[in-house]
Structures are given as C-alpha cells and as structure tokens.
C-alpha cells in the first residue's frame, strides 16, 4: 500500500495554448470545448456551427445553428423551416462572441453561402475551412485567405493528379458536343446544390440562351439560389411526358439519375457528368459517363497547397479525402500536420447528397 500522494498544483508560469484545447475531433464531428459547439456535426447537438448547406455538413435536428444567412436559407429550403430551434445568422466578416470565443465566418468559395469558420480564443486562431475552392465561380463569394495558427483543411482532391482546368473550357466541351449531336439530349449529372447552379451560370455566360431543363431534385435549391439574387435565366422542370421531345436540350440532374430509368426516355441521351473525379478516366468509365467534365467545387492539389501556405498556419489538420498525400506534402514542407480521419463527410459526387425528400420528387 502506498500512501496517497498529494501533488501540489503546478503553477502556470506562462500559458501555452494547445490546439486541442480549442478544437478536438469527436465521433460527432469537430468540437470546440470553450464555445461548447460542434462544427458540421454528424448527429444532432445543442449548438452547431455550419460551414455550408451540403447534406453531409448541414443536417437537420440541431438545437441552435449558426451559419451564414445563405446557408440558413438553403437549409430551410431543404429541410423545412423547423430544421433547428434557433438560428443565428453570421454574415461574412461579422464577429460573434460565444463564451469568450470570437467566431466569424469567411467566404470559402465552395457554394453559395459556404464559409470558413474562424475561432479565436486566448490569442490562438484556428480556421476550419469546410469545403473550399479558389477557382472562378460566379455563384459563390470568392474565397478569402484567413491568416491563422491552426488551419483545418479538407483533402477531397489531395493527390497531385487532381488539377482542375478552368471551368469555362469544360463548358465549351459541352456546347461543342451539343453542336455535334444536335438531335440528342445532353444529360448533365451534377450536385444539385452549388455545382448545378454554377454550371447554369457558366452556360449563360458562354452564350447558351435556351431554357435549361432541370430534374425535379434540382428545382427547389435552384429556386433558392434565384431568390437569393443569382440570375440563372429560364429554368424548366422536366415533365416525364416531355422527355422524348428534349433532343438538343441541356438537362441537369443529380449524378445518380444518369443511370436510373428516368434517363432512358430522352432521345439518345449523352451521359455527361461534371465532377472533379472526372479527371480520372477509369472513374468516369465506371460510371458510364460519355462526356466527362472536370468541374469541381473543391480545391485541387495546387489550390490546397497554396492555401495552406497562404494562411501562414504552423499546424495543419486534414479532415477528409486523400489526407495521406497532403499530410506527406506538409511534412516535406516543414509543416506539422495530421490526418483527423473524420468519417461521415462525403466526397464530391460519391455520396449522393440529395436529401431524400427532394429525390422523391423526381
């Protein structure tokens, strides 16, 4: 038997913040103990900070949600007005104090309303990027570099083979194909939130003036975009009976719809898909895609690396995607990095992010 030893409390000569004091990965998602809030929680929690409206980041059923006004509007449109008990709107750049933690939202360039969340506590700055891109997108606010000590990044396309070309060139490929096959319908599989609207806008900018036809699952979120001031020209919901008449049309649908019965009734349809994965031929072929367009709402390899360096962060955490390669690169660049291996976040186009009730409308 050893007598109990009473340890004298160690005096803090100088307080040194550990990143883990501000943020720690949990099965429910990233948790911020001082603010008592989860970022993009995977299960309902009392307080959630939500980076953007994609279904794997923004889930219904939380008690209090803080997000940008656009993200809140998208969540309300998708889940209904009662998607949470209380909402707190956080316009880009506005700082809110939550239990002594300064919280602010900054443009992530991913989709309309998408934000990086900056947390500052006791002089330590962390930025959770959510999903982000730096390529041109006329439907989302431009990505903003937010200097920080800890940068938490995604790595969906975290391999050097992923370099996304300018989206305008990919749109030109689509329009070329419509020229070459004017009697066929071009079915473009694209994420219904963000990707689809970006494509519509880019098509308009490239001079496509005809109506753009939408699968039922695309309609509500597109209307939300339009209500939030994004002009997408004339969009028409595809009526089942009309499908056979849509030769020469451009039709947008969720990626999964390309291979459903729904797609068969169009005149000799061309299966088009717009996704960063389309960079890899085997991936496109596995999905039966005939015209792959490399258009992504995530950062490519070059953007990921540039952004990590731009933030000036000393420590990098990598949430989801191809984290091993990005962590390896950080190491070779003298940065401290670790993979969080968070599960539950889909990668572009792989998890079908269309909420069920919208898919059911199709």
């Amino acid at each position: 038997m050893r007598p109990p030893v009473s340890r004298p409390a160690k005096p803090h000569l100088s307080f040194r913040m550990r990143p883990e004091d501000l943020l720690c990965p949990t099965p429910r998602g990233l948790f911020c103990p001082p603010a008592d809030a989860y970022i993009d929680p995977m299960r309902p929690v009392e307080r959630a900070f939500v980076t953007h409206g994609h279904a794997d980041h923004a889930r219904p059923g939380n008690d209090a949600v803080m997000a940008t006004p656009e993200t809140l509007a998208i969540m309300a449109a998708r889940y209904g007005e009662d998607f949470c008990r209380t909402r707190q709107s956080a316009p880009y750049g506005k700082t809110t104090d939550v239990n002594g933690v300064k919280v602010s939202f900054h443009p992530a360039g991913h989709v309309l309303g998408a934000a990086q969340i900056r947390l500052e506590w006791k002089g330590f700055r962390a930025v959770i990027s959510g999903d982000y891109k730096r390529a041109y997108d006329p439907t989302a606010a431009d990505f903003e570099v937010v200097p920080c000590d800890l940068f938490i990044t995604e790595a969906t396309f975290g391999l050097p083979v992923f370099r996304h070309p300018p989206a305008e060139g990919e749109i030109a490929k689509l329009l070329d194909s419509v020229d070459l096959f004017p009697e066929r319908a071009h079915l473009v599989g694209a994420y219904s939130l963000g990707k689809a609207q970006r494509l519509m806008k880019l098509l308009r900018m490239a001079g496509w003036e005809k109506p753009i036809h939408l699968h039922g699952a695309m309609v509500r979120v597109t209307e939300t975009y339009q209500a939030l001031g994004i002009d997408l020209g004339e969009t028409v919901r595809v009526e089942p009976k009309e499908r056979a008449k849509l030769g020469g049309a451009i039709v947008l649908c969720p990626p999964s719809a390309l291979r459903e019965l729904w797609a068969r009734k169009f005149p000799d349809p061309v299966a088009v898909a717009a996704s960063g994965w389309m960079r890899v031929r085997a991936r496109a072929r596995q999905k039966g895609v005939e015209l792959p367009l490399v258009v992504s709402d995530h950062s490519d390899w070059d953007e990921l690396r540039r952004t990590i360096l731009d933030t000036g962060a000393e420590e990098i955490w990598v949430t989801h995607g191809e984290e091993d390669a990005l962590v390896h690169w950080c190491g070779t660049s003298g940065l401290k990095a670790r993979p969080l291996r968070l599960v539950g976040y889909g990668d572009e186009g792989e998890a079908d992010e269309t909420p069920l009730e919208e898919a059911a409308e199709a």
Binding site: L159, P160, F162, L180, R264, R279, G288, E322, A325
Partner: protein, 547 residues
Amino acid sequence: MNRFAFLLDRLSYEPRRNAKIRLMADYFRETPDPERGWALAALTGALSFRHAKPGMIRGLIMERTDPELFAMSYDYVGDLAETVALMWPGETRANRAPPLSEIVEGLHATAKLDLPKRLAAWLDALDETGRWALLKLITGSLRIGASARLAKTAVAALGESHKPDDVELVWPGLVPPYEDLFAWMEGRGERPFADDPAPFRPPMLAHPLEDADFRSFDPQAFVAEWKWDGIRVQASAGKDADGRHVARLWSRSGEDVSGAFPDLVEALTFDGAIDGELLILRDGRVQTFNVLQQRLNRKAVTPKLTAEFPAHIRAYDLLFEGGEDLRELPFSERRKRLEAFVAREANPRVDLSQIVSFEDWDGLAAARLDPASAGAGEDAAAVEGLMVKRHDSPYVVGRPKGLWFKWKHDPMTVDAVLMYAQRGHGKRSSFYSDYTFGVWTEDDEGEKLTPVGKAYFGFTDEELVELDRFVRKNTINRFGPVREVAHEREIGLVLEIAFEGIARSARHKSGVAMRFPRVARIRWDKPPHEADRLESLERLIEERENA
C-alpha cells in the same frame, strides 16, 4: 496535337459505333494535311516508335516529382500514361502546342539518347489531355475502342459515294500521312494505285439459314461445305515491284495476323488469294477450337509452339489467281479453279474444303446432325455446322442477301442460376445487362452454386427490362458496380444459357469455360434447385473429348 488529343479523349468514352465514326469523320474534315494523316496512322496502328518506352516515361516523372506522391498517385489512377499526364508539373509553358506531325517526325528522327529531353519539352507544352494522348501514342496502347476498320469507315464518310471497302482495297499500298487517299475521298485526286502484292480483300459473309424460308429453295441450285470451327482468314500472296515474294494472312476484319502465324505465312508461296479457315492439324486430323485457342493464348510464337500447334488453311474459295480477279465468276467456276490450284500447289499447309453432297434438304439436315457419318469422319468435333452456297454466286463483298447461308449446329444449353449482375455499356448503360450465372455443385459445406460463366446478350429489349427489374428487386449485396442477386434453392432466377463449346479451364474456379454463352430463355417458371449441376457440364466435356 490538341485537336487529335481531344478526338482520342472523346472516342475513349464514346460507346456508340456511329457516334465514333462521326467524331472521326468530323476530325478528318476539319483537320488539314498532314495532321489528319498522322492521326489516321495512329488510329489504324500504323505507327510504331522504337525508342520511347514506359521506362523512359517513368524516369522523366521521377526526376520531377516526389516519389512517394507519385506512388500514391499511380496507385490511385492505375495507368502510367494517365498518371504522368496528370502529374506532370508546371503550367503549359510554350506558346504553341506541338502539332502531331512534329511529334511523329520528331519521334522517328530523334536519337535514343536525346529523346527524353525532346519528350519532356513536348509534355511541357501540352495540357493534360494532350500529354495523355502523346504518352498513349508513344507507348502504342491507344485502346480507345476504335478499330482500324472504323477509322477507315470514317475516312470513307468524307466522300459522297465511297464505301469503307473502297478504302480497304487501296489501303495496303498507302503510306502515312495518306494525302493521296484524302484527296481521292474529297474528289480532288485520282484513286491511289494499290501496288501491294498481298492486299486484304473484304470477305463475303453468310446469313443464317434458319432466317430464310430455305425449304422453298431448289436444293439443286446449292452446294454445301462444312463450316469449320477455326478462324476465317484470307491468305494473300504475290510478287512486289522488285520481284520479292510477299505473303500475308488477314483476319475477317482486315487485321494483319501474319505475325501470329509465321509457320503458315512462310508456306504461302503461291501467287493469289485464298479464302479459308485457319485450323490446327495434327497428323492430318483437325483439332477443335479449344486447341487453337491454346495457341492463340500464347504471346510469344516460339518454334516449340508452332511445332506443337501447326497452323493450316482449309481453302473455301479462290479470289485471285496470279493477277486475275476471279470474284465475278460463279462459285462453281471458282471452285474448279480452286481444286486445280490446290492440287497444283500440293502445299502441305493448304488443303481443300470438302463438298458435302446432298439430294434434298432433309438429307442435308441429316448431315448437319451427324457430320461424322456424312464425310467429316474423325474431324467431326471441329465442325460447327454447314455452309450452303448458291452455285452461281459471285464473291460479293459484305453480306449479300440470298447467296450464302450458314447452318450452324444447335447450341448446347444449360439451365443456370443468375448470381451476379453488372450494368452494361452504351445504350444499356443504365441496365443490369451483364449476368454471371452458376450451376449446382457440392463441397464440404454442402450444396452450393458455383459461377460458370457470364452472358450479356441473347435477350430482347423487353426481356432486358424484366431482367433489370428482377436484379434491382432481388439484390442482396453490392460489390462496387456488381450486384449480388438472391440465389437460393427456392429464390432466384433460372436462365437457359446457350453456348457453342465447352472446355476445361484452369483459369476458371469451376474448371470449365464456355464459348459464346448467351441467354437463350428466361425460365421464370423454374425454381433454382432444378437448375443443372456442374457434373452435367463436365460430362459434356468428356463427350466432346471422346467424340
């Protein structure tokens, strides 16, 4: 190069034949000489570059990237040319992308030691698609699903009145970049002179006899031969302008297969063109297709292989003799010329296809059912049916109506159980149309189904919709693109599978391999436990071996 790369890119994803032709014709129409000619050479496999090898490409990328990142990327992408094309560092630097002609000429003219530098400069100047196309081009593995024949068809589409076979006929005499060919197609020049002494002539094909109301035909107007189960080939030989003897062996689709059968090509000492069946003969006996398959499976053609699997031609027809074109003559005339030709040549590698005599259609039907008694004797196992030809039929390119018929054996069938399904391609891309089927067997754990083959045709469009629905409703597991379908004693779907041949196979888990399996009938009425057993397939093999 960018325009060509774009074409390859589109072709590699395009499943529809007609759309492929349109993409290529579109390219040939819009692209000037000599660019399009080099592209045509690449598409028809007429280019080869000795010095550019995968090792050189690997070396270039290793100098430019982190080896660990390269390894992770290669592992992910799974294709060297594609990985390198995507990873190649830096922005596109040059002001202009190198044209295809510059690359082709450069690849031929550059010394081996200087090639890596040259190649790197090109890769620097191209975008991802351009780099991919270049690397595929130099490694000689385009694999974009467009055959040489399809490319020639697209060339023919440039003109108003040309057929693919017109291109085929002049093709052997042409060299890249084919400016004379394009000029001819576009009505700006004369037909190029084909001076190849051993050219490919498009073959004449037959219709299934069952499709015709043949009982109303006059049997006296027809002649019958065995349809041998080998490879239909054309042996073409003659002397070139310098008096050198040239011989080639062509496949039915116009691929030059001489390289695979040097023993046979060497024996083609005549001047003319024979249409026949390539068969393996041992001591004068025709071997089954399974034996021929064993030779085809080997990559290297060694003396041991050619000695063990000696290739022969069984001659069906004579198209040319000396410089004389016999194709306009009636079959009976050509047959006389062929008999005299074979007798005169007395070539140990070339023999004559036997005529099957018959009085009436019932007599021919009896011969079809029992080739051994009707003249095929010990070779009967290598007979896959009958060819029935009109005496007066000229040799017409393609598949003319009413002249030649094939009357194949009824296929073998087995009742098997659907086990797995995968989506098809092209028009069927949204349907589960590739079916893995199995038969019952017993092991330590008891009765179970073992997969014995895959079928992806034989059903109608309506049946496909029903099969697709069945698969969707009865999926019990998913492995990537593959769905496992319920297959128990009482629950599951029985498919009657028809096939042309069956042999032992060490590569298949079940130990058997079927030739040409397809869905003959969907047995909605049959419970899975009534499907066939592996033993009955093994018995079929034994019967064939003993035949």
